[in-house]
Subunit: 234 residues, 2 copies
DNA sequence: AGCAGAATTTTGTGATCACAAAATGACACG
DNA sequence: CGTGTCATTTTGTGATCACAAAATTCTGCT
């Protein structure tokens, strides 16, 4: 039983809404659907995900789902077990340390590279996102918080038009996001801290070093402290 | 017409040689076949690669090839153009700089993490690989050199049993390997320099900092100098 | 009731098909 | 001789099928 029949596709070359579909459009839609679901924490680590299940839920044939699952497995966002079953990998302390280390190496670097491309308008946009984040923190909407936090960071990183570093960081976010969702589910969102305002100020001033430290601190405090605590308790 | 009929599969559950095939074995074989081909530089950047072509060459149906190509595209080892065609992405100066930067950030780090796990036997194995590399340099076998150089680095990195950093570095190698093959094709292998002996000595001594600098220097000199020169001339 | 074993259903995999878009080649016209 | 146009072929995509392995459920025995 499909949870929600989004009916991505109906006609051969046009969708019900009249929108033209180009090459690989179905796969693309399936890809963003699953990807955003992962980043928003709508998938539970350890929970198996079936091809036919997702296909039915999205109203498409198993075919594009198979390919997307393979893609996400290649990015280590999903794990293919020896029997072929696909599941969201569950977090281990060793894995968590590695993701944290990799983030601290790559994200400040890409932020610095992005800095020259960021305009005043971008800074204002970041400010707007951060305001929405503050609302989510008090309202306790963890899913919206994760979506906005992702938008905040990648609004910076994407300014580089990077084709190498950015995909690597993308892969990292896909790996830790589902776990962080479970963390927020336990500790709530009220205790979350970030260094976004420092980052915005660094962007406005064009201060490379300040941006690096703000991003690094944001990662260490937002992810590092919470995660280590949970993993120690589990 | 298949260039070489390797006939990976014939029967439903057994192959012609009587070897038992388990779940996803065909895809696995296709994956390593293309992956090693990429790392050895047997694919030319910019050259399109067709599903049916590879399928015929490997003696399998297009199905597993499709999934493997999607995987490699997700790792940025291959590029899917808007029309759906898949090709080895060609190198640009910006892309090259990013790969170099990412390698310098990640590989010394993972090498340092690997150091405590490396035994005297591992050091001897590295020495053996490096001896083979020296032979390739004088004989001019670029493909064997690339394979051995990859084996050298990943013999170190794999000691960590890393599930995060290692795949990231894997992705990077898949991205620059095809380009480097073209570089070696132009300048030959005689002029290649590496810092492998320093790295081996650092492993033997258990010197973290020395290993880091050896790896970093190996990357900068082996890849950085050559690549920048070629890209400048192109 | 507890549990081993068989029957049934679910699931991933590889193959094949139909179709449309794109690339390629042939060919006539300026 | 170059060039635009049309026919042919190639190619990716999504769907469906057949099959085997795995998971699940049911059943019968102790």
């Amino acid at each position: 039983m499909p949870l929600r029949r989004t009916a991505l596709k109906s006609g051969p070359t046009k969708t019900a809404t009249g929108q033209a579909t180009s090459r690989g459009a179905t796969r693309e839609q399936v890809d963003v659907a699953i990807r955003t679901g992962l980043l928003a924490g709508r998938f539970i680590p350890g929970k198996a995900v079936t091809i036919r299940g997702l296909a039915a839920e999205l109203g498409v044939s198993p075919m594009p789902v198979r390919e997307v699952l393979q893609r996400l497995a290649a990015e280590n966002a999903l794990e293919v077990k020896p029997n072929g079953r696909v599941q969201v990998p569950d977090m281990t302390p060793a894995r968590f340390d590695e993701v944290l280390k990799a983030r601290l190496l790559l994200e400040p670097e890409l932020a610095e590279l992005a800095l020259p491309h960021l305009t005043a308008g971008d800074a204002a946009n970041l400010q707007s996102i951060d305001n929405d984040i503050d609302e989510c923190l008090v309202s306790g909407d963890a899913e919206a918080y994760m979506r906005l936090n992702h938008a905040f960071h990648f609004s910076i990183y994407r300014a580089t038009a990077s084709k190498v570093l950015l995909p690597l960081i993308d892969s990292l976010w896909l790996q830790f996001a589902p776990f962080m969702r479970t963390v927020y589910g336990r500790v709530g969102t009220a205790s979350l801290v970030d260094r976004h305002k420092e980052a915005i100020r660094a962007v406005e001033l064009g201060d490379k070093q300040a941006l690096r430290t703000a991003i690094a601190a944001d990662i260490s405090q937002g992810m590092g402290l919470l995660g280590k605590e949970i993993l120690a308790g589990a």
